[in-house]
């Protein structure tokens, strides 16, 4: 691994959010506010077919009648949805342009993030579809993927090029009526990724998307749709960074995964949106709906490392519809300072012999609140369903909180559902033990936290695991005095 301790040290010295810069790009930004006209304007701007426009309008009308949910264990000032601009595109970007034609300021921004397209291109086995302010500006490796019949492109392009696929699957897992944020996303989403893996194809590389919020006051509403046809396999990486801002930014994404018979999808996320400053000011509101459908013998694994956002509301779920299908959820959620996270999963067992595993690791520091919320549901026809859940919480200091809300609903007697939970605290004794062996306190905490999170970190693809490990350490810097 190229990452050295020296680099780590440098990063630990930087207490401020390291990606907190702002790139000045001329933007084509809509006036603030949301109405049916705005929804239509977004659709028009993107040259969408009528069915897409109608779909958005329907979603908007549903959303208008909905209430923002307040059952999660998070407290924040509700965003003013009329104070947000719903469309912003980097002006000079054009999906048809070559990389060389891309706005040099954008390229510079990628470099700052360590994800320059130039570098990414050289990286083997990683295809990158980068979303900056709602419009994709660069897609790489498209050709290699095309040879296998794999479609991996911005969803706005997919709407133009593969309307039959998008129309068939979009909203089939997360309907427009699903919840407040999903309805909002359906009405105003500007871009995101679309991925289709044909029958029997094993995607030869990790597919990766970097999201980024840039324009001040611009909410970002990505839409991801991933379809793995029968017997196919894909591993998808999603990583996020956002520039630091004083005002709250809203992020409400929808991710839909469809794993057909015998297909397997691994979906990994490292989320590092701006968490707000030490006083709890600013930060991203992250209200995400992620759901997967598993057909017969299919398998979906969600792995997430959540270190950012002021408020997180996120429950990547699996509907285990097909017999023998498998759902997995591996999560590390770190909260520090005034961050609040309410995250977990839903495993809905519908088919026979369905299995699910939930491993959740919550790390709370500062004055933060970290909640696990999970539902394991076994329907009456799901014979021999199995679930194992493990929720571990690690507390640092005396002012943070860890909460666990496990819901279990079983309607079939043959089901076997196990739930284990632990709460521990990084003790002075552990720190002293490490100190005595010559390991300073900062390094000791990193060691203990990495040990605590290991079961989940091990589930991430190698390059992501390294990044995640770094993030954990940066996020908890200075949290034990």
């Amino acid at each position: 691994m190229a990452y050295t301790e020296e680099e780590l040290k440098k990063e630990l010295e930087t207490k401020e959010y390291e990606y907190g810069f702002y790139t000045d790009i001329e933007s084509d930004t809509f006036p603030i506010g949301l109405s049916e006209e705005i929804v239509i304007a977004i659709s028009k701007k993107k040259n969408e077919p009528q069915w897409m426009t109608d779909w958005r309008i329907e979603a908007y009308r549903v959303w208008e009648k909905m209430e923002e949910p307040d059952w999660a264990n998070v407290h924040y000032e509700k965003p003013d949805f009329q104070a947000i601009s719903y469309y912003s595109a980097p002006k000079k970007a054009d999906p048809n342009k070559k990389l060389e034609d891309v706005d040099p300021e954008l390229l510079e921004m990628y470099k700052k993030l360590g994800i320059s397209v130039d570098e990414q291109k050289k990286l083997q086995n990683v295809a990158v579809d980068i979303v900056v302010d709602s419009v994709s500006v660069a897609t790489t490796f498209k050709k290699t993927l095309a040879e296998k019949g794999i479609i991996f492109m911005p969803i706005s392009e997919a709407i133009q090029e593969h309307p039959e696929l998008v129309r068939k699957y979009m909203g089939s897992i997360v309907p427009t009526t699903d919840n407040f944020y999903a309805a909002l996303n359906s009405a105003v989403f500007t871009d995101g990724s679309f991925c289709y893996i044909p029958k029997g194809v094993r995607c030869p590389m990790e597919l990766s998307t970097y999201f980024r919020i840039n324009q001040a006051g611009t909410g970002q509403f990505e839409r991801t749709l991933l379809v793995a046809d029968e017997g196919s396999y894909v591993s998808y990486l999603e990583g996020c960074t956002a520039p630091s801002r004083d005002e709250n930014q809203l992020h409400a994404a929808v991710v839909e995964l469809i794993a057909m018979d015998d297909a397997e999808i691994k979906y990994s996320t490292v989320q590092n949106w701006f968490p707000g400053n030490k006083e709890g000011k600013g930060g991203v509101y992250n209200f995400v709906t992620k759901r997967a459908l598993c057909e017969k013998n299919a398998k979906v694994s969600w792995t997430q490392v959540e270190t950012g956002s002021a408020v997180t509301w996120k429950y990547p779920s699996c509907i285990l519809k097909g017999d023998n299908s498998i759902g997995e959820f591996y999560s590390i959620a770190v909260t520090n300072n005034y961050q609040q996270a309410d995250t977990g999963t839903k495993m809905i067992h519908l088919g026979k012999n369905t299995r699910s595993t939930i491993i959740s690791k919550g790390i709370s520091a500062g004055k933060s609140q970290n909640s696990y919320r999970g539902l394991v549901q076994v329907s009456s026809r799901a014979d021999n369903a199995r679930n194992f859940s493990q929720c571990d919480s690690l507390l640092m200091g005396n002012e943070c909180g860890a909460h666990t809300f496990p819901y279990i609903e079983v309607k079939n007697k043959s089901a076997m559902v196990e739930h284990e939970a632990t709460t521990s605290k990084i003790g002075e004794e552990q720190i002293f033990y490490c100190n005595q062996r010559g390991i300073d306190t900062e390094k000791a905490i990193a060691l203990i936290v990495n040990g605590f999170s290991k079961e989940v970190l091990n589930k991430l693809p190698m390059e992501f695991a390294v990044e995640a490990q770094k993030l954990l350490e940066i996020s908890l810097e200075g949290s034990v005095g």
């Binding site: 301790e5 003790g427 002075e428 004794e429 552990q430 002293f432 033990y433 490490c434 100190n435 005595q436 062996r437 010559g438 390991i439 300073d440 390094k443 060691l447 203990i448 990495n450 040990g451 605590f452 999170s453 290991k454 079961e455």
Partner: protein
């Protein structure tokens, strides 16, 4: 090597050490004995720099340097090692990873590069053989689910890996059966040299049959009330601590 002068220390306002004087030279083995609550473990913790204890008076010198202002990790970098009476568990961190981190942190403090992986592996192999440790054991999480004997053996393994100048063994014999005791003691004996020193804190004379001390000190009520050679340990075994308490009371 180690020189302690009139050391006083408190924990939560209560005075535990009340004027300790001790001098340990390179190549020597010292045993510190005494009844429960006499301050033996406190002394070990204070030497190692545990901030739970407040040093109210006196000085500790290591190789002539006053270590008062040194953090626990700096003391470790200077060659102080404490074998804990109750080693803590660190879930998910393997013994190997922990040792690798400890060794490289000490090297970093000395301005050295990380130990090459090849050398690290060889060191691990050599030291685990020395202590008759199954290498599978080294990939287990540190102290998690270890038996009492395994924990203590692991402490001595770490000592072997870190090669300290001054090793303090705090009740390393407690919780050990006779076979484990023999292995641990053999390990310590093999690590002993003219350049390092060992301070053995123990309740019983049993361990001292295997690790033979040059000097024996009796700690009672926060003070060293009697010092002698290994015969003193035998006398204590025979007569108990009551006569020491009486002598001290006079």
């Amino acid at each position: 090597m180690l020189k302690i002068k009139d050391l006083h220390a408190n924990v939560e306002g209560k005075e535990i050490l009340r004027g300790i004087n001790l001098e340990v030279n390179a190549g020597e083995v010292h045993a510190i004995m005494g009844p429960n609550g006499s301050g033996k473990s406190t002394l070990a913790s204070v030497i190692a720099g545990n901030e739970t204890y407040e040093v109210t008076a006196g000085d500790i010198f290591l190789n002539g340097e006053n270590i008062e202002d040194l953090s626990p990790e700096e003391r470790a970098h200077n060659g102080v090692f404490l074998s804990f009476q109750y080693p803590v568990e660190i879930p998910g961190v393997s013994v190997t990873n922990f040792m690798k981190t400890a060794i490289n942190e000490s090297r970093k403090a000395k301005g050295l590069e990380d130990m090459p992986a090849k050398d690290m592996l060889k060191l691990i192999r050599d030291k685990s053989e020395l202590l008759e440790i199954d290498r599978k054991f080294l990939s287990r999480s540190l102290n998690e689910g270890f038996s009492g004997g395994e924990k203590k053996r692991n402490e001595i393994f770490q000592m072997a890996m870190l090669e300290p100048k001054l090793a303090i063994l705090d009740e390393t014999d407690s919780g050990l059966d006779i076979d484990a005791l023999r292995i641990v003691a053999n390990g310590v004996n093999k690590l002993k040299s003219k350049d390092n020193a060992v301070v053995v804190i123990t309740h019983y004379q049993r361990l001292l049959e295997y690790i033979v001390p040059d000097f024996v000190h009796v700690l009672y009520n926060g003070k060293i009330v009697k010092s002698g050679t290994k015969e003193l340990a035998m006398e204590l075994e025979e007569k108990g601590y009551d006569w020491i308490k009486q002598e001290a009371a006079v």
